[in-house]
């Protein structure tokens, strides 16, 4: 199973890198779905099947479909791709690449410094998550529902054609 993890991790990293670098938005979107699916595999391997399912259903499913719809409505053509390519010049990468590299280095150093312990090899299933979610975290669930409602209202308001 370790191999599965590493393969999935490699896929996720490569797919994410492609998302960031592709100049065609639709391509980038597809790579993002791949990246999310790979992440779902990682979740499963780690022993969180419920999270993996949610990742597939909500992230790779619902949210990405939202993106697809929007890209479709934007009706981006070849011109957009060309323009996008012009925007992504090698020079534009210097700063962000440096920042990201520093971030990676710093966090991994921190991880190594903190280190220690073997991962608990125990599955935490949907039932267990549910019990905790609707037990001590009930308030958070309510807040999340409010957040979603606010998002819904805002999206509806902004999306109206005559609104403003």
């Amino acid at each position: 199973m370790n191999a599965v993890f590493y393969i999935a991790a490699a896929v996720a990293v490569v797919a994410t890198a492609m998302v960031v670098t592709r100049s065609n938005v639709v391509h980038a979107l597809l790579y993002l779905i791949v990246s999310l699916l790979a992440a779902a595999v990682v979740f499963y391997v780690l022993g969180a099947p419920f999270a993996a399912a949610l990742e597939v259903i909500i992230y790779a499913g619902a949210i990405m479909v939202l993106f697809v719809f929007v890209v479709m409505m934007l009706n981006l053509g070849a011109d957009a791709t060309v323009q996008e390519r012009q925007w992504i010049r090698p020079r534009a990468w210097i700063g962000p690449a440096f920042l990201s590299a520093v971030l990676v280095g710093l966090l991994i150093y921190m991880l190594a410094a903190g280190g220690g312990g073997i991962a608990a090899q125990r599955e935490v299933g949907a039932k267990q998550v549910g019990i905790v979610l609707f037990g001590p975290y009930l308030l958070a669930v309510e807040l999340a529902s409010m957040l979603l409602l606010a998002g819904l209202v805002a999206a509806y308001h902004l999306g109206r054609e005559d609104g403003g």
């Binding site: 996720a12 969180a48 608990a120």
Partner: protein
Amino acid sequence: MVSLPPTAPLILAIILFALGLAGVLVRRNLVVMLMAIEIMLNAAGLAFIAAGMRWGQADGQILFILILTLAAAEVSVGLAMILRLHYRGEPLDADLTNRLRG
């Protein structure tokens, strides 16, 4: 079940997060920037799940669910704004929508 070093999934999360950050900083297309933000959020969720699994508890997954909710709300609002901009005939260029300039 696997017998991974506990740092492995965290390292994966870090790499994904850094890639997302680089995407936000490099890309000018608002849609792609939104996608890069999704990557970063997902990486954070991965880190939570990895940490939760380290202790064999459900809390990590619950936080992942909350992040998922946040991401959904954020994407819906963000995409609605992008559509609005598009309908007003403005380019989806983060550098041009700079009316917040001081």
